[in-house]
Symmetry: C2
């Protein structure tokens, strides 16, 4: 999974192929957003991308792999949060996740997850996206520990689950219309959540020096 | 919405009608679990219930109303938690929610919600089920306040959102196979979550007398 994408990235001398790949990934997203998982076919994607079916099959063995790859390819904007302070990192992290889910493509990862769970299929996209979110949080916490902040090893996974869980429910309540929530509300909602949960992350519950303002 | 069900309950002298209603609701659930929302039709439900289409249309104007009603009719086991202690109430409440979502019918409410959000439809079932969960939590907190426990009005909605959100993500990670999690693990997971979040619910963060064991 994802090997097609990686392979393409490693072939800078073949722009035409990489081009077709990007066109296919873009077409796959559009096809999914328009038709949902049930109406999603390799045929439809190939037609939309203006390539032959065999070009698609060269890179992706089946529709599920293509669907998951295309969603993942558009879900890059999660990682790499580093403001230098734990509180601000967590606010940025949760704002990223909220923005990610408010975007139809980001929301598609949640929808694919729920569909996979409902049909008892392996939720590949779920695992991949959830792993990426958790890894991003793990990096933030590791850096905080490196700076000398005392992260509670017992609570940390559970606090992140509460943070991401609350944000997921917020999106379900708000809907994904772009105008339901603006940047100011996103920042406010994430700050409230982080300020409430932060003491649970720290040993003995004291706030760290750099976020006690 | 839901009026068909209520009306039937008010007609104890007409068991045959109530019977057909229950058969239709049961058939609708089975039809949904087998075919998903896209394959769900009034026709299919009527055939499965062994009634005429007109019998279904007498009570439900369209397939969406029937789908939502049938899921809600099976989602009764959420409310009425009252152990006499806030901590135990919250543990029971979250265990109920976890069990609810692990059940395919309960999980269907989450799936319908996600599908409704994705297609920008009004997530009727979402609103109804979320309201019911929130009402149950509200009752628990009101009773705690009546007993003299100092509930923090600023954090309470957010804490419940974290609790329910973390449980929702847990189900997405576990899947809904009945054997992925037993009663002991459910109790343990919910106790851990509640014990972590409980101080945030209380004014000044002190644990209440009756839960400090």
């Amino acid at each position: 999974m994802g090997d097609g994408v990686t392979a393409a990235r490693r072939s800078p001398g073949r722009p035409r192929k990489a081009d077709a790949e990007q066109r296919i990934l873009d077409a796959a997203i559009d096809e999914y957003l328009e038709r949902g998982a049930t109406g999603f076919t390799i045929d439809g994607v190939a037609r939309r991308a203006g390539v032959g079916k065999s070009t698609v099959y060269l890179r992706w063995p089946d529709r599920d792999t293509l669907l998951v790859d295309s969603v993942l390819a558009r879900s890059r904007a999660i990682e790499d949060v580093d403001t230098g302070a734990l509180r601000d990192d967590l606010i940025a992290l949760s704002a990223n996740m909220l923005r990610f889910l408010l975007d139809p493509v980001g929301f598609a990862t949640l929808r694919l997850t729920v569909e996979a769970v409902a049909s008892r299929a392996a939720p590949q996209v779920a695992t991949d996206v959830a792993d990426r979110h958790r890894r991003a949080a793990g990096l933030v916490l590791t850096r905080a520990a490196d700076r000398g902040e005392l992260i509670n090893p017992v609570t940390q996974a559970r606090v992140i689950e509460c943070l991401y869980g609350a944000i997921t429910l917020k999106v379900l309540a708000l809907g994904i219309e772009a105008d339901t929530i603006g940047d100011v509300e996103i920042a406010a909602a994430c700050t409230e959540l982080v300020d409430m949960l932060l003491p649970l992350l720290l040993e003995h519950g004291q706030p760290p020096q750099d976020s006690a303002r």
